[in-house]
């Protein structure tokens, strides 16, 4: 009986740790907040629904960038490649007589994931600046290809003549963006849920391990390359889905979908919110896009100055994004 005390304490500590691990999978009430806000926005701002739909789709894109950047620690400057390939896949299907949105979305996700797999096999062999360069070159390569293949993509003018059919043959994409908004919201929710499950799985934990200390993960025998490739492929599919959502709801795809600027701005939106938290996207994207909508309406060129300044100030004063700022203030 003399040893019962410490043993019980051990047990208690162990069950405490188990409880912590069990709790982190549970849905926190605060996690419902973005969805409540999205549903409230649907009711409150009926005239902004087209913008709202774009924001929701871009959140999905940023979420996919967060998986690559925040969880796998892959600094990419070419994430728009997957976004653009998804958008062009859905767009070309719809422009050539197959406007069914759900299957278009799936085709886009698969095409982007395939590209993620192939380019990942090449790109992920490198690290640091070379990796950054490789991702940039992949995106630039595709941008150039889409520019030259103007018979298929419309080249510089963008893809014209997309016809998207009603969802399930029932819900037409209306002028006010109601269908588009709900469509994007549902797809975003599914994407977020899947991403959340992945991040909290043992696989997701091992990704964090790879980000924090690659050498140690190698040493304990984790298949680093394969795990990175899996998450890169999945994130590519997610980015492709986001691109397809925007293509289907705006019925337009342009070369800008593949551009360096888009790869850069998605990082900015994500970083403003906070990287590696799964929720940075939900803060950064709406902030950025609503500000862009307000300011660029006045003078589009100077928007660049404002956003550039915002980026510089974020690095100088609010490293880690708004979430980190909140964390610091709470402490």
């Amino acid at each position: 009986m003399a040893t019962a005390g410490p043993v019980r304490a051990d047990l208690r500590a162990e069950s405490g740790a188990v409880a912590v691990f069990a709790r982190r999978h549970r849905v926190h009430p605060l996690e419902a907040l973005p969805w409540a806000a999205a549903i409230a926005a649907f009711a409150l701002f009926p005239s902004y629904l087209p913008l709202g739909a774009q924001i929701l789709a871009t959140i999905l894109f940023a979420l996919s960038a967060d998986l690559v950047l925040g969880y796998a620690g892959i600094v990419t400057l070419g994430h728009a490649a997957f976004f653009g390939v998804g958008a062009y896949t859905a767009g070309i299907l719809a422009a050539h007589g197959w406007g069914e949105p759900i299957s278009g979305l799936i085709a886009a996700a698969l095409a982007a994931a395939l590209l993620g797999l192939i380019s990942g096999l090449v790109v992920l062999r490198t690290t640091g600046l070379t990796l950054l360069m490789q991702t940039l070159v992949v995106a630039t390569l595709l941008h150039e290809a889409a520019n030259k293949a103007s018979a298929l993509t419309g080249g510089d003018d963008g893809l014209q003549g997309m016809v998207v059919w009603p969802i399930f043959g029932l819900f037409r994409f209306d002028l006010f963006g109601r269908t588009a908004y709900v469509y994007c919201l549902v797809v975003l929710f599914l994407g977020w849920w899947t991403a959340r499950q992945i991040v909290q799985s043992p696989f997701g934990r091992s990704l964090t391990g790879i980000r924090e200390n690659v050498l140690r993960m190698h040493a304990i025998g984790a298949p680093v390359m394969r795990r990175r490739l899996v998450i890169y492929t999945f994130a590519a599919g997610l980015a492709g889905t986001a691109g397809a959502l925007i293509a289907q709801t705006t019925q337009f795809v342009g070369l800008g979908f593949l551009g360096l600027e888009r790869s850069g701005t998605i990082l900015i939106m994500l970083i403003i919110g906070g990287v590696g938290r799964l929720y940075g996207a939900f803060i950064g994207v709406p902030l950025y896009m609503i500000a862009q909508d307000r300011f660029s309406a006045i003078e589009p060129v100077y928007w660049y100055f404002e956003i550039g300044l915002l980026m510089v100030l974020t690095v100088v004063f609010a490293r880690g994004g708004l979430f980190a700022l909140i964390d610091r203030l709470r402490r």
């Binding site: 950047l69 600094v75 400057l77 090449v122 062999r125 490198t126 690290t127 640091g128 600046l129 070379t130 950054l132 360069m133 490789q134 940039l136 070159v137 992949v138 630039t140 390569l141 150039e144 290809a145 520019n147 030259k148 360096l260 600027e261 850069g264 990082l267 900015i268 970083i271 990287v275 060129v301 100077y302 928007w303 660049y304 100055f305 956003i307 550039g308 300044l309 915002l310 980026m311 510089v312 974020t314 690095v315 100088v316 490293r319």
Partner: protein, 290 residues
């Protein structure tokens, strides 16, 4: 046969001129990135600034060409010191992502500032009278300005290489690139050396931007549009290397000119594919240290 020969000479000539511009702009980037490990995506901004200084000094204020070039190098070097001291310094040795964010922010600000100051239209580059027209060498004529570009580029490269090999400053720079900690321990003031190297590299970039204003048109999107070129030269050449970027610039300059001439429908495609292949083969670039 004669056609093939003349096409080859023409590609070689224009490719060489392009390579000189690429090298002058990118060499500073290679050295500063190699020395400080700082991902500086805003390097093109200094080249653009140099280009604007040269074109506006010449067309608006009637400053002679040579003086305008010197002005461009000076303005960009001084401007870069301010940026380095205020913004870059706190991020040395920090997170890649912060560096990417900061320098991309600077690029975006440069786009808006250039549009505000000079408007969205590309700035015309009018070479001085003594450099317009053609120089006849044997039966062939070569554009005088491009010839000047090649010659002055070669002269600058020679001075740069000699300077790095022979002067005390060059020795310190090479030491700091090779082994930063060791350089610090033998008493080199690396902090001041960084600033000096950075200013030198940016000044060269400004000079390159000014000299190359007729090859890479000076417009507000300059830093964004040409970023890929500069980064390719640095990555293919090998970080921290002085000669590597020269070989890379030659390769990219000649290949780019050649394929745009021979296979216009593929355009820049080949360059990017080539870059990927080289980086797969040698992830640290052709002359990168392992």
């Amino acid at each position: 046969m004669a056609d093939t020969l003349s096409a080859a000479i023409s590609i070689g000539f224009h490719g060489l001129a392009f390579a000189m511009v690429l090298y002058l702009i990118s060499v500073g980037l290679s050295v500063t990135m190699g020395m400080m490990g700082f991902v500086n995506l805003a390097h093109g901004v200094f080249a653009m600034l140099g280009g604007y200084v040269v074109t506006s000094l010449m067309s608006r204020h009637g400053v002679p060409f040579a003086a305008a070039l010197a002005g461009a190098a000076l303005v960009t070097a001084l401007g870069s010191i301010v940026v380095e001291r205020l913004l870059y310094r706190p991020l040395y040795g920090g997170d890649d992502l912060d560096q990417v964010l900061l320098t991309m922010g600077l690029v975006f600000m440069s786009v808006a500032t250039a549009t505000y100051l000079w408007g969205p239209i590309p700035q015309p580059m009018r070479p001085p009278r003594w450099l317009s027209g053609e120089i006849a060498i044997g039966p062939r004529g070569f554009p005088a300005y491009r010839s000047f570009l090649i010659l002055s580029g070669a002269a600058l490269v020679t001075v740069l290489w000699l300077g790095l090999e022979r002067t005390p400053l060059g020795v310190r720079i090479r030491a700091a690139v090779d082994n930063l900690r060791m350089a610090q321990s033998v008493g080199i003031n690396t902090s001041r050396l960084f600033t000096l190297t950075f200013a030198l590299g940016s000044g060269l970039a400004g000079l390159g931007g000014g000299l190359g204003a007729d090859l890479l048109a000076i417009n507000p999107n300059y830093a964004l549009d040409n970023l890929v070129y500069f980064l390719i030269v640095v990555a293919v050449g090998g970080l921290g290397s002085i000669r590597g970027p020269f070989v890379a610039a030659l390769l990219i300059g000649v290949a780019d000119t050649g394929f745009k001439y021979l296979l216009p429908e593929l355009g820049a495609f080949v360059i990017y594919a080539l870059t990927m292949a080289i980086l797969l083969w040698r992830p640290r670039g052709l002359f990168g240290r392992t």
